[in-house]
């Protein structure tokens, strides 16, 4: 295999930050536009590597749905360190570098005609939002859409207004909970598993898309199977440290798999035997 031209594996291409919107104390939504005018052409669940030169590069899930001809895409990012802090400080109009999209994705074809149960813990809603918005765009190709969403506390909730709008819709259901309520919280209180008894599903006809913090998978896969959902219908997205996004740097290994190439979206059956997965 001989690389033609000057193609580089690690060189990002330019994109411009066009819009920034605060979603919570620590999380903001960033809308970017590719300078080449082309659509990102990602699939729901994929991620990109974002560069702020002089600061660093980090992986982020694309939170918007793919849309032909639209050079814009959204990331929702939590401030937690070097790159994410710098990103939050960027002004609209600033250029960044991007690589990708990379990794596996939710099999939207397979989900067609079936019901989808979304299980989102905290920031896990970010990649799931891409899938949700994709399905809502192609609403008649999918069956029921049920979203279970758990957040630590009301202050950390993200996409609050948009969730309120979604709750108005009659063609889908959202069940939300917080671990620890505040004075104004009127909804469900308790960890995300407390939402499972609230939903009626047809298990054989349901696919699960689940993303959350590492600990959540351990508690949520059981209840899904208890409901009778076949394990091969359960898809999870696993986050690992990533440096290259291309299966080279080794950081994202889960046993023998690379979370950046074989993942981040895995069929539960494929990772269930792996002791390092969940």
């Amino acid at each position: 295999m001989s690389p033609k031209n000057n193609f580089s594996t690690y060189a990002p291409r330019p994109a411009t930050l066009v819009k920034k919107e605060k979603l919570s104390d620590l999380v903001s939504l960033f809308e970017f536009e590719q300078d080449n005018g082309k659509a990102l052409a990602h699939k729901p669940g994929q991620f990109i590597m974002l560069s702020i030169y002089g600061i660093g590069e980090a992986p982020f899930s694309v939170s918007s749905a793919p849309e032909a001809g639209n050079a814009r895409f959204e990331l929702a990012v939590r401030k937690t360190g070097t790159v994410t802090n710098a990103l939050h400080d960027l002004k609209e109009g600033t250029k960044v570098g991007i690589r990708g999209p990379y990794g596996s994705y939710f099999p939207v074809q397979k989900f067609m005609g079936k019901d989808t149960l979304f299980v989102a813990g905290g920031l896990g809603y970010i990649p799931l939002r891409s899938l949700l918005r994709y399905q809502l765009k192609h609403r008649d190709e999918y069956g029921r859409i049920i979203v279970l969403l758990g957040t630590r506390n009301p202050k950390e909730r993200i996409f609050v207004d948009r969730l309120a709008q979604l709750k108005e819709r009659t063609d889908m259901e959202i069940h939300e909970t917080v671990d620890v309520p505040d004075k104004n919280w009127k909804g469900n209180v308790g960890v995300i598993t407390t939402l499972f008894p609230k939903v009626e599903i047809n298990p054989q006809n349901t696919f699960v898309a689940m993303v959350g913090p590492p600990i959540m998978y351990r508690f949520c896969i059981g209840p899904c199977m208890d409901k009778g959902i076949p394990s091969k219908h359960i898809y999870v997205s696993l986050e690992r440290r990533m440096k290259c996004g291309l299966g080279k740097c080794g950081h994202c290994q889960i046993n023998g798999l690379s979370a950046c190439v074989e993942g981040p979206v895995f069929k539960y059956d494929d990772i269930a035997p792996l002791s390092e997965a969940i």
């Binding site: 990002p12 330019p14 560069s51 030169y53 590069e57 600033t94 440290r241 740097c249 390092e276």
Partner: protein
């Protein structure tokens, strides 16, 4: 494969000629007796009989620190950096060629790593049958005693003054014949080379894993929960020496540094490895391999199973470098595999 017979006196002028076009590196013994691949000089004395080169050769393809990008902070633009000097490595042992072949496969898998590819393509590899086997090596027991791809020429010493030289690539042929035609090897010369290879293999067979290496992945699968991991890792310094010296380990970190004027800068990669504690650390201080035991086990699973699952070979060529580098004496794939095999009562 075409083979030529090359006399000892023919070699220095040949190296001199090659050095006009290539950065030629040859095994050289230092004052303390350690052998390393060093730039060839007319005065260089080649360590023909070396047992193992102290440093592996991966640094010629995956330099310890390698620039990937030059960027401009204000414009937020970046240009790829790809350096690939023409280089010729002379005198590489088969297990080390094997290690490079593995890197080739892993770096090409999926999206090819262009920086690696370019360096690899700018390299001429000249293999050499070893004369001695390091006490710590076990390459003959892990299928790394011979190679049939990856090199351009393959030297085997068949007499004090001559070599049997197989050429594999057109480039190798061109370079070998650069000073004019050479005699094709005769049948007895070929037999002599065969005997030479068999003899060194016999020496190497004295140390090795005690079962057929293809059984290793299955063996590993049975031993995820072995007490061995904790017992050994108790002495682990998490110093990373074992992965740094390993010719088949290729993991890296990516960082960057701005120039002094804070206008431009470079992004580079640097050797990293799964034995270092923060290798699998993510936001929220969650570490997917928090204990030395987890990391130690991972490395042996990589060597004994995960790499095998990808390319059908063990991720260890048995060079023994990690065994030597580990100051607490716990890095040793052969010992680990053998211990696990014995734990299964497989010893005959």
């Amino acid at each position: 494969m075409t083979a030529y017979t090359v006399s000892m006196e023919h070699i220095p002028p040949l190296l001199e000629l090659w050095a006009k076009e290539y950065d030629v590196h040859v095994p050289v013994r230092d004052v303390d007796g350690f052998v390393n691949f060093s730039p060839w000089r007319p005065s260089a004395e080649i360590a023909w009989d070396y047992d193992v080169a102290y440093n592996s050769l991966k640094r010629f393809f995956l330099p310890p620190r390698e620039d990937l990008l030059r960027f401009d902070l204000a414009a937020s633009t970046a240009e790829p950096v790809m350096e690939a000097p023409l280089q010729l490595l002379f005198g590489v042992h088969p297990y080390d060629v094997k290690a490079i072949n593995q890197l080739d496969q892993l770096m090409d898998q999926g999206t090819a790593d262009v920086n690696y590819r370019k360096r690899r393509e700018a390299t001429v590899l000249v293999a050499l049958t070893p004369e001695h086997v390091s006490d710590l090596a076990f390459w003959s027991s892990v299928g790394a005693d011979s190679v049939d791809i990856g090199f351009d020429m393959y030297f085997t010493r068949i007499s004090p003054s001559s070599f049997y030289v197989e050429v594999l690539s057109p480039k190798g042929e061109e370079l070998l014949l650069a000073r004019g035609e050479l005699p094709r090897s005769t049948l007895p010369e070929r037999e002599a080379a065969k005997r030479k290879k068999a003899a060194i293999r016999a020496k190497a067979d004295k140390n090795g894993i005690s079962f057929p290496w293809k059984q290793t992945p299955k063996l590993m699968s049975r031993h995820w929960d072995s007490p061995l991991w904790r017992n050994k890792a108790r002495h682990c310094l998490s110093c990373g020496s074992c992965v740094m010296v390993c010719p088949t380990c290729y993991c890296f970190d990516v960082r960057e540094e701005a120039d002094l004027d804070l206008k431009g800068g470079r992004r580079f990669r640097e050797w990293d490895g799964c034995m270092l504690p923060s290798f699998a650390l993510v936001a929220g201080d969650h570490n997917f391999r928090p204990e030395a035991r987890d990391r130690y086990r991972h490395r042996y699973f990589r060597k004994g199973k995960y790499i095998f699952d990808k390319i059908g070979e063990l991720g260890c060529v048995g060079c023994g470098r990690c065994v030597n580098a580990c100051t607490t004496g716990i890095a040793n794939p052969m010992a680990v595999f053998n211990d696990l095999w014995e734990a299964d009562n497989h010893e005959s």
